[in-house]
Subunit: 205 residues, 2 copies
Amino acid sequence: MTNNDRLTEEKIFDAATEVFEEKGLAGARMQNIADRAGINKALLHYYYRTKDHLFEAVFTALAKKIFSRFTPIFDKDMSLEDKIRFFFREHISFLQRNPRLPGFILNEVNHNPERINKLLSQIDFKDLWQTILEQHKDELKNYNVNEENLPQLITSIISLSVFPFAARGIFETVLGKMGHDFDQYIEERKDFASEFVIRSIRKEH
Amino acid sequence: MTNNDRLTEEKIFDAATEVFEEKGLAGARMQNIADRAGINKALLHYYYRTKDHLFEAVFTALAKKIFSRFTPIFDKDMSLEDKIRFFFREHISFLQRNPRLPGFILNEVNHNPERINKLLSQIDFKDLWQTILEQHKDELKNYNVNEENLPQLITSIISLSVFPFAARGIFETVLGKMGHDFDQYIEERKDFASEFVIRSIRKEH
DNA sequence: GTCTATAGAAGGATAGAC
DNA sequence: GTCTATCCTTCTATAGAC
């Protein structure tokens, strides 16, 4: 593979990423991708054979990108509260740099639920969740966190972090009408969400 | 308009709703809609002229449906805590009956952000939010709720309620691997989310 | 109001020259 | 490896009979 090959293939991949994120699989046009990559349609097929192949490549890469952001948290040597703060700060910062990612993944999964299964099956969630319970075993007596409610808690944390980006189009408008700026709202969210969750799981004593 | 007219138009609208919710605007096929309505393609155009007209009708109706569910809460004569419990119970129950609604709206708004603006401009959010602060003025000294953090709080409540449905394809798989059932998870969420939020906003004393 | 048949446009994919 | 030209399928939309 020559240097030029890699450059072209990369240009195509980047252009395809943009177009698929904006329009989705069904709404994307090969012509549009070619234009944005500064090449012609035929070359797309030379490198990726079909639209579906190209989409598959983009989707897999982006899905890995977003899911790989969830897992490293679990290994960190921190208190439970610091881990929550760390997660929101890191994860929301990641989404600030990739604001269209959540909507793209959710949309394509809704339209084709099987697509994500192969990727999800490579992650051992059971092990991940047990790790949390083990790591913070001693702390947990001070918190409303147990094996029973862990699914509700974790999905709540994800919701608080991801949803504003998935619903960005609506949030931006509504916040705007209240005199708030979406970007600043997101910036403030890093701290707000952390403290929101922590206050909720702390046991009063 | 004869009775038959209305029946056919309604059949088309219902079929279109299903197909658009499943595939989105770009992925939907007029043939598919006609088949599901038990009629032929030409009749679709007789009633709705173009695909875009038909989509517009469906989208507007569904968007109104989901947004009209947010507002009535504010007028209820209840304590702040009861209002939060009432919201999660009612809203999640509504989404249980319309599980594809959130994903559909979010997706189409992402692909065409202007589409929702006309609808949102009909709602006076400023008035709504002021109403909350007014109604619970006396209570608020006991809660971490003020004009400053109201946007963060309200968007958090929406996130906790809506996101599991928007991300259903992923949640269903992940929860399944942990031995949990999505439907039961949602049922439990009504109470969990309420108490999660209430614990978080209560001032310790 | 509903159907069959078909026009006409758009978009994915390929052939073949360079 | 990259381009132009074109094929061919798919899909929206309409014409016209009943």
